[in-house]
Subunit: 244 residues, 2 copies
DNA sequence: TTTTATTGTCTTTTTAAAAGACAATAAAAA
DNA sequence: TTTTTATTGTCTTTTAAAAAGACAATAAAA
């Protein structure tokens, strides 16, 4: 495992990723179950190499631990309490996994690494669960999407991080056009509305929502979408090519 | 100097403080001139001890380097580019101060410390220049308030940090009631309006501004303020005691 | 008593958001 | 072919909020 290469890493600094997923009109969060006995659920996380920016690091960590690539990741908060360390996690880990006792499999260097207090930079992203490809093979943990409103207990301050990430997500949904990343190249107004309803957890009015979206000035209307349903066919839209 | 106690500090992590100051209806920034030959202007900055939270650290650093105490400090961004290090600064420093050549006064430990890449957490605050007490004695640098619109070149990415801090300040002025910290316990509507005009760098309409402030529901009207001017006396206001 | 400068508050106007209304479909059912 | 159903796109109306305008009420000097 790479964490042994401690001198290539910045010590006491970690990155935690809150990955929101959109599926079937619901908002979820990607949680990894660590490969130990006991319930150790956590956000995808990792450490920063000397020769990469924190943004690059966040992307690499996410790819390594989930397979997700080319995701719009955004920093939102630094968690830096003085007692923010692995001690509680380690204690529970050893309680459930006595065979891991210190100085045993856990080498000395690794123990030193994890015994320190950690500053963590929180990143968040929003992805379409049906569009992205999780890579679960060869990982030392399993991955699962949990409903945002039914999150289990996570290790560390990861529950708190998720709440804070959710606030940042809501604040920036419009500004960063994140919602459009969740949809195919061509989408209907209803589809983009359902994204917003999932993120804000409330209904929007069809007429006013459509006006607001069109007034943003970033959408281009395409041909109609004939679904075969016995009603008027909606238009396809796409992000204007000029829009970043 | 404390930076020699490297094992008590978190390495490669720093904190930079953008302190906005309000005086005579203008917005300023507190800049320190480092005590070397050459123009080395910087934001007040420092490092994080193992046994303090990053918030505590920001406050301590600010106090140590400026004398400012009990200020509302807020984190706003992490700067973590991979080439973010002291090399350019060190090169210029040695160019202007050849007597400091490496392995001379700069001990080995200190050189190692500063040769690494640094992650920096940006904090900002807004204070009333007339109310706060700068302590310039015994410092290894001098302090000066610069007009926000006429900032000189700063070392590192400190100019960029200041711009980013300014955006955060504008976004949060209402929400955090920062503006009221700049005023005496009792203040007039005009005074609070001038704070807003300095921060947003634009005029507000007296009538609508007053309505907006009163509608916030955090102000309590007190007695009138008789200034001696030949016009109607304005009321004093104060923050309602219940308001945090 | 008049004048001047400023304040507090009202009304009017303008703009934006929310709600309501309805014609225009696309395809199934009659 | 016509009617019916479900949904969409776009209007109008209503409501709320922001901006602008208007003016009486001072406090003290002239």
């Amino acid at each position: 495992m790479r964490i042994y290469e401690a001198d290539e890493l910045i010590s006491q600094l970690s990155i935690d990723c809150t990955i929101f997923g959109y599926q079937e009109k619901r908002l979820k969060v990607l949680i990894s179950q660590l490969n130990f006995k006991g319930d150790f659920l956590a956000l995808p996380a990792g450490f920063v190499y000397q020769n990469e920016s924190i943004d690059q690091s966040a992307h690499r960590i996410l790819t390594e631990r989930t397979g997700l690539k080319e995701i719009y990741l955004q920093q939102f908060w630094v968690f830096g309490e003085k007692d923010r360390n692995y001690s509680k996690f380690m204690a529970q880990l050893f309680a459930f996994n006595p065979e891991l006792k210190p100085n045993d499999e856990m080498g000395n260097e690794r123990l030193t690494w994890f015994s320190k207090r950690f500053i963590s930079i929180g990143y968040y992203a929003l992805v379409d669960i049906n569009k992205v490809q999780l890579n679960k093979s060869g990982l030392d943990h399993s991955l699962e999407w949990y409903d945002f409103n039914e999150l289990p207990d996570l290790i560390f301050d990861h529950n708190e991080q998720t709440s804070k990430a959710y606030r940042a997500l809501q604040l920036n949904l419009d500004e960063n056009l994140l919602g459009f990343n969740l949809l195919p190249d061509k989408f209907t107004m209803k589809e983009i509305q359902q994204v917003y309803e999932a993120v804000y957890d409330r209904p929007f009015r069809r007429n006013n929502f459509q006006k607001k979206m069109l007034d943003l000035g970033v959408l281009e209307r395409l041909e109609k979408k004939y679904t075969g349903a016995n009603n008027k066919a909606p238009y396809f839209y796409r992000l204007k090519p000029s829009t970043p």
